[in-house]
Symmetry: C2
Subunit: 338 residues, 2 copies
């Protein structure tokens, strides 16, 4: 029962190879009787056509390439899980490639995927990606490109993202309403739109409630990891900056800062309230549990896949492809750190 081909089915059923292929693909120009015979037999021997051979004619590999910046990040593995599941349900398989936050690796991966003739590429930008020539290349090649999470507005393709500005506004406003007056912010690196937007959201909330913006309270964390959070907290303590709250652009940074504050005798949340960003698994395992902004990876994954399928359908129907941008809602998860 292994490595059957159309020819085997054809000779077993005493019909032509063409008839088998057409039956399997539900083409109209084949008698219902033949079609059913073929389909029944194919099913009984568990046959399905070799997709590599089919590619030579159809130009479809039924392969999707997904580039994430870090596989080990809970947020991305959640998105990936959903994409893979949805892809498989629709007959696609997913090739995964991590860019490790490097544009160079990102470029290399794209070249590799294009060469493998994947049907679509889903991608979240590396933090240091500032020019988008390699992305335009994807679009020009005719391969569907869907950007998610860390996106660029200037690339002509569909996108799935959260409203980072609004989410950060919400988190900061929440702290203000808790009575906090001096709120520090650990922001991400300077380039990505997403860390700019979170920073803007933070600033807007301060403005709205007439709290003076103090640039000294903003820390740029290039990797937004726990070490940088720890260091920022250390600086805050050393100055001393006398803050009563911290909004960090990532959960890891928030946790790193929390550790430092605790180690130095500050009580979280009584002395300093902390809010993170992403709702990674780890945020529900710390002491105290971390208040954070939930970014639903599963919803993002589903939306990405839905956009892709829509584009594929449009391609097949030879319609013009409409790019869409989907914004996924976030919510604040209140726990113990605030």
């Amino acid at each position: 029962m292994k490595n059957l081909k159309l020819k085997d089915i054809a000779s077993a059923l005493n019909i032509s190879i063409a008839a088998v292929s057409k039956s399997l693909k539900n083409y109209p120009d084949v008698s219902p009787k033949t079609r059913e015979r073929v389909r029944a037999y194919a099913k009984s021997v568990n046959f399905s056509p070799n997709s590599q051979a089919a590619f030579l004619r159809t130009r479809e590999t039924k392969l999707i390439g997904v580039i994430v910046s870090q596989l080990t990040h809970y947020f991305f593995s959640t998105i990936l899980s959903t994409i893979i599941e949805e892809a498989e349900a629709n007959g696609y398989l997913v090739i995964v490639l991590p860019s490790e936050e490097s544009v160079e690796i990102e470029k290399k991966h794209i070249a590799t995927l294009l060469q493998k003739h994947v049907d679509g590429i889903f991608l979240t930008l590396a933090k240091d990606t500032y020019d988008f020539e390699h992305l335009n290349q994807i679009v020009e090649s005719g391969t569907s490109l869907i950007l998610f999470d860390n996106i660029s507005k200037v690339v002509p393709c569909s996108k799935v993202l959260i409203d980072d500005r609004q989410a950060a506004f919400m988190a900061t406003e929440y702290l203000i309403k808790k009575g906090k007056k001096r709120i520090a912010h650990c922001r991400g690196p300077l380039i990505p739109q997403l860390s700019i937007d979170r920073f803007i959201g933070y600033k807007r909330a301060l403005e709205k409630y007439h709290i003076e913006y103090d640039p000294e309270l903003v820390f740029v964390c290039d990797k937004i990891n726990e070490e940088e959070g720890y260091e920022a907290a250390q600086k805050i303590i050393d100055m001393p900056l006398e803050i009563d709250a911290l909004f960090a652009a990532s959960d890891l940074t928030a946790i790193g800062a929390m550790h430092c504050f605790q180690k130095n005798g500050f009580h979280v949340p009584k002395d300093i309230a902390i809010v993170g960003f992403s709702n990674w698994k780890v945020s529900s395992l710390t002491t105290p549990l971390l208040t954070t902004v939930d970014q639903p990876g599963d919803v993002i994954g589903k939306e990405v896949m839905a956009l892709f399928l829509k584009e594929q359908a449009q391609k097949k129907a030879k319609e013009t492809i409409e790019h869409q941008t989907v914004t996924v809602p976030t919510k604040l998860i209140e726990r113990e750190s605030s």
Copy 2:
């Protein structure tokens, strides 16, 4: 410069398609001069042959399928990252499929991958996999199979694992040497070899130091997650079982138990020392930081890939394929919870 084929190169250089193909593959029966011309030109136009078309002749897809039980688990995403990187360096791309700990999904994924004609399948068993017919199917199809982490001894294939028995012994012995007398154990489910082995390691350590084994102190955690750890701790407190240490078969379970103990006024490690298993990222983010057994995912990934490449070489040389089992060393990471 896109979608070039052998023919384009051949006509540009005024030689035959065969000559081009042979030059690119460094075949001996082509003059060095021609070979160099072709290679230089191919490089200048960034050409590389279409792998789907090549498959039809070579039967190689340069695709590897990896099935892990849970993508969102730090340990697996670490292994995956390494495998993907090593694969790419060797011209392979990786299709990722999570089994979500279900044999049924595992079986379905294997069928899908076999049908896609991947060159190899790397797999860690779902927790409830007890028969291995579907794995033998892989072996019979001629596709290389490498088992890692949660393996089965009876499948004839190469394997990469840690010495779970020894690692658990080491963790338990460490607690005993710290003066602990009543050590509870949160074990994994009953079927997988790996959770059996960790349990045996725990028991052996008790035996060696003449501590009576008390079955009441062993809790079966089917999902070895934080909820089960919390529940086990709750039972320990309610009985009360009066333990002075806990060795859990996973970091999450250890953390769940730690939360419960803390919430009930026990001090970790003073009242109860806790040791986890895996050294997930999260174990260095809790309060207190978790002592645990490090399972090096990157080393495991590298070994898996090395075994695969070895088998591919043997296949090409038409040698008999030798299955190997590689055991990767673990170490105890002492932190604050013990």
